[in-house]
Symmetry: C2
């Protein structure tokens, strides 16, 4: 069942305590599409790049079953570029460079062949652009999942709230949940945010796992304890890609199945951080993924037979 992915496809330059990269492929939609391609071979990308973007990455996406008909390539222009440096704790980072380039006036054009999509994943972008995507679809998808970040809460809260009222699932981190709701307690934050629109709320806590809220129900997915987090860039997008990819594969949007989807998202994210950029995702084998799912299962499994 068809999955529409909208988000940035871009260049990153990353520095972590483990090393630094030159310009490498990044962007929310790149990570989402790579992660989702492990679950569905029927996804469609809407994004914009400049003439400088490598054709071989786009060809690789196509080989993975991602339609790139909706990928706009702007002649004579440059792709979005972000550069950042992570601190020792890997949870905080400084942005060194942000060049919007083609993303500055991104008009998300939806090809006619994309109109049948059943699942929509809105990667982090301006809330206005995210909203435009929803409005341009002739039929509302069965499930709309949205990612966003603190930046939009600071400069475009009204637009963000408008977009939030149109989606089913919101995926943000703990700090963003607190900023958006004005509540320190994540349980209280979850109640307020669900009142803004999304009936499902995922709160990502990095190395501390993720929570899924739905009404009064809560599910907790651990993160895998890792010896080293090499580069956290894209982990949240990879998580979202694994989540929506698994939902699209199974066609089941129940709370119960979202729990499974979050475990797959967490597993995908645990691979993402093992190498710089998209490197680990590009080379991921299915047996590695399935074996990691078992690690997650064992990580939280207990047997209280003797109560």
């Amino acid at each position: 069942m068809s999955l529409l992915i909208v988000g940035s496809v871009a260049f990153d330059a990353i520095e972590t305590p483990f090393g630094k990269t030159d310009k490498i492929v990044g962007g929310a939609a790149s990570y989402i599409a790579l992660a989702a391609s492990n679950f569905t071979k029927d996804s469609k990308l809407v994004a914009v790049v400049g003439e400088d973007f490598p054709e071989d990455f786009v060809a690789d996406l196509r080989d993975r079953g991602v339609s790139t008909e909706g990928l706009q390539i702007k002649k004579g222009e440059k792709s979005f570029f972000w550069s950042g440096k992570y601190h020792t704790d890997m949870n905080t980072r400084d942005t060194l460079v942000t060049e919007l380039n083609v993303l500055g006036d991104f008009d998300p054009i939806i090809p006619e062949s994309y109109q049948d999509c059943e699942y929509l994943m809105l990667g982090n972008l301006s809330p206005k652009v995210q909203q435009t995507v929803i409005e341009r679809l002739h039929h509302r998808p069965k499930l709309i999942v949205m990612d966003t970040m603190n930046f939009w809460m600071e400069i475009a809260m009204d637009d963000l709230k408008q977009t939030l009222s149109m989606v089913d699932v919101l995926s943000i981190n703990d700090e963003e949940a607190r900023l958006l709701s004005g509540e320190y307690s994540l349980v209280k934050a979850a109640i307020k945010i669900q009142q803004m629109g999304p009936k499902f709320l995922i709160i990502k806590k990095g190395e501390n796992g993720a929570l899924l809220f739905h009404g009064k129900e809560v599910f907790f997915a651990p993160a895998l304890p890792l010896e080293d987090v090499f580069d956290p860039t894209g982990a949240g997008d990879t998580f979202a890609g694994g989540f929506i990819g698994y939902i699209a594969k199974t066609g089941d949007i129940s709370f119960e199945n979202m729990k499974n989807a979050i475990i797959f998202g967490s597993a995908m994210a645990s691979f993402c951080v093992e190498k710089f950029g998209t490197e680990r995702l590009v080379n991921l084998r299915e047996d590695e993924m399935l074996s990691r799912i078992n690690v997650f299962r064992n990580l939280v499994k207990f047997n209280l037979a003797s109560v």
Copy 2:
């Protein structure tokens, strides 16, 4: 099977964003004994208080099956007193007052009737005192669990390492694990700390749950997402009390059973933080505890039938 509990029994005065208390009963061993009494009616306390300590709290412990023969009451002296103020995030606090009083020269005398104990829980105390307790036991207990804190790592690392080499399970928080090992990654920290002695390591992460390491194996227990953490004082001790109480009840010191014990410890801690001091623990009913265990079970349960 008999459980020996050693630690402080004391007074606290606590301020949190939700209110403040006058002097109330606190101390690691108070929380441990209260929590463990939900699982075993055969525990024995070694601690010291001053003449100012309320007899009714001691009588309540006895009613719960805690022997207080080893509780020294120092005539004309005052009990240990700590006062602190928590910040909004509840994860950090300022110590306002520390009066060692009777704890300054605490000599942990083990009554003869305590010598049969099979489980030993060393609450946070000077590592020298903890070591003395182990040395004064005629037979080594089946399992020795030890709690400690960053304070001892800063002023008595050599003593601490000596004591660590004599115990089976160490329970500390994430910050302390990093300080003790010199490693930021908790997985790397766990490897180093196990080399210091304890074959099992529990790393508590507050609202982010707890990890149990044993060799290459890892178990993750979530914390319950709560609307409000009213007062975190004693949560770690309560966790330890639930953990060792459950082990003593079941008599099973396997890694598999420790997973269950950690879930019970986490459940007990989730009650502890709901009220100031020991108030919630004192009034806890068994049906409430069992129902919370089910909440923990559901919190992490997923069913990947459709993989």
